[in-house]
Amino acid sequence: MAKGDRTKAGGGGTAPPEPEFVQLLTPDGERVAHPDYTVDFTDEEYRGLYRDLVIVRKLDAEATALQRQGELGIWASLLGQEAAQVGSGRALREQDMAFPTYREHGVLYCRGIDPIMPLGLFRGVNQGGWDPNAFKFNMYTIVIGAQTLHATGYAMGITKDGRVGGGDGEAVIAYFGDGASSQGDVNEAFVWASVFNAPIVFFCQNNQYAISEPIERQTRVPLYQRAAGFGFPGLRVDGNDVLASYAVTRAALDAARQGQGPSLIEAYTYRMGAHTTSDDPTRYRIASELDAWQAKDPIKRVRAFLDKQQLADEAFFAEVDAQAQREATHLRERVLSMPNPHPEQLFDNVYPHGSPLLDAERAEFADYLASFEGSAN
């Protein structure tokens, strides 16, 4: 996309049976070449990506377990989408800003945010807690599609501030799902980004489902092809391939930061787990589909690659697993010891300086709470 990929954006017509996408690492761990995209990692960096993927999956599994045990209200697992998230997340440069949905725990991890943060949010003890400006990672967004507009406006803002242009310019990435692609907000974001040439990458994780609805309920053409109609490049990447996800995102972000405008990446992947812990996917999808995707697992192929290339040995894999286990255990301990907020805090953060009505309600509530003090139970 950074390299004049515009001709590819419109091609096709009807959806191909087998998706064509940018792939650099096959499910068997073969490193394959692509005419437009490549990566140039050191051995250490390859191992680092593997480590990220394993840890991110492990922490996610721990969060799911905590929810099952009643310790979190809800959890939206990223299982299966680790490569799309780690690949794109590691492709961000320090100055780039990300706008996530509720599922981007892997990107959050890559941004250097303590993974306890979203768990505090879903435990209800705080509102997320990270500083979006310090970490360049915005709040989780739950209203489908809303963040694509915020991201577009933010991208317009950094352009106006003169922070775009050249290799150290800034860029924005907006994450969203295949379901979200049907929302007016998302399509309007495309129009705006296009018209104002905003430095933004629209990163759609097509995990094949919006809750129970398969992708066919949202589109007749491959999603990436929609970009052509809005006047910017679009491409599909193997979202289970961390190398390709990294390469295409890096190129798209670099094009944006240099002032070449928006682009759309469709990361073709699969939601291996439930939509959230409140969902039961067996109600709407068959086991064989899951099996087919299991064979394309994003972590297995990196492991196979490291193995084949002799970049890592058993001791390394064991050490990564041990680290992941340690971090997960530590995460669990910290979650369980998070203090509950004082009930009076429910009146905080409605207006930055309060309001007469709110102050009155708070005072009344404080009196009410005080009336229990000293009483047994």
């Binding site: 209200g73 809800i74 949010l121 209800g124 003890v125 739950i142 209203v143 489908i144 379901g179 979200a180 049907s182 929302q183 007016g184 907000d185 919006a210 809750i211 129970s212 609805e213 309920r217 949202q218 109600r283 709407y284 509950n340 907020p341 009930p343 805090q345 429910l346 009146f347 409605v350 009505l357 709110l358 309600e361 509530f365």
Partner: protein
């Protein structure tokens, strides 16, 4: 008589309407194989097929707008919006289109559309998923707003809503789907009047949807204390049934309104105004209101519960209206 849940009652009402009228169909997100976000339409796809139980693309404005078009084209659509929170993406279609087309067409086109949605808090879904905005919709001329609080109303309101020429919004209270009650026959009910759910003589407690049970629980506790509360269920939030409300308040001389919406600019404010406008000289105490704290609904359980109307708050408001100080 076997008990039926609120969820089953709505499903049964949809099933009956689909069987009775070819023009009726259901559309929305995840209403097909999934059976709807709250399981209401479970099994209906198997019975009626994908033409009549339609999973739609994820776009609230589109499925409400398309519902308007289908209604204009002679169909009787039931549009399911997952929750009231997401109806905000369809506000223009609901308020600026569905509600006004009869007027804008000089009386030529009614919009016989039914929009069902879940409302209310109390299930730890955080501020953006916990709105109670039905009172807000009740502000709009041209709409009819229903709030079933009982299994019988959940079962009986849909058919008359589909027969009604107005766009009708049915607000299903999320905390009630698993509630069960007796259903005798499942006859259609009227969608015009409020109902006295518990007769009493000392005070009128007014609730609807999710706050009916809050009001009834409070009334039971008050009874232990020798206070005889009448409980009125609004049922239809627009047009409001003033007659039932005022008749009750004129007998009890006191009114306490229980509403999960916020107090400022609310349905509870409207009811309070109507009572003071029309029954001021019958009142022995100012009209009182028990509403949600004026904050985005918190996610943490203990804070969320503190923010919502609770029976204890209703009991305290009634006691204050009766001049009984808590000792």
């Amino acid at each position: 008589m076997a008990d039926t849940t609120y969820r089953e009652a709505i499903r049964e009402a949809i099933r009956e309407a689909m069987r009775r009228d070819e023009r009726v169909f259901l559309m929305g997100e995840d209403v097909g194989p999934y059976g709807g976000a709250f399981g209401v339409s479970l099994g209906l796809l198997e019975e009626f097929g994908p033409e009549r139980i339609r999973d739609t693309p994820l776009s609230e404005s589109a499925f409400v707008g398309a519902g308007i078009g289908a209604a204009l084209g002679g169909m009787r659509p039931i549009v399911e919006v997952m929750t009231v929170n997401f109806s905000l993406l369809a506000l223009d279609q609901i308020i600026n289109n569905a509600a006004t087309l009869l007027h804008m067409s000089g009386g030529q086109f009614a919009v016989p559309l039914v929009i069902r949605m879940t409302t209310g808090a109390g299930r730890q879904l955080a501020a953006q998923h916990s709105h109670s905005l039905e009172g807000w919709y009740a502000h709009i001329p041209g709409l009819r707003i229903l709030a079933p609080a009982t299994v019988a109303d959940a079962r009986g309101m849909l058919w008359p809503a589909l027969r009604c020429p107005d766009p009708v919004l049915i607000f299903e209270y999320g905390g009630l789907y698993n509630a069960s009650g007796e259903l005798d026959g499942g006859a259609a009910v009227d969608i015009d009047t409020a109902a006295v759910r518990r007769p009493g003589s000392d005070v009128t407690i007014i609730g609807y949807g999710g706050t009916l049970s809050t009001s009834l629980t409070a009334a039971d506790r008050l009874a232990d204390d020798g206070i005889d509360a009448e409980v009125v269920d609004l049922r239809t939030l627009r047009p409001l049934d003033d007659a039932t409300l005022l008749d009750s308040v004129r007998r009890t001389h006191r009114a306490v309104i229980v509403d999960e919406g916020w107090r400022s600019g609310s349905l509870s404010a409207e009811i309070s105004a109507r009572i003071t406008e029309q029954a001021f000289y019958d009142l022995d105490a100012p009209v009182a209101r028990v509403c949600s704290a004026e904050v985005p609904i918190p996610y943490a359980r203990h804070m969320e519960q503190a923010a919502l109307p609770q029976p204890a708050g209703v009991v305290a408001a009634v006691r204050a209206a009766l001049g009984r100080s808590d000792g």
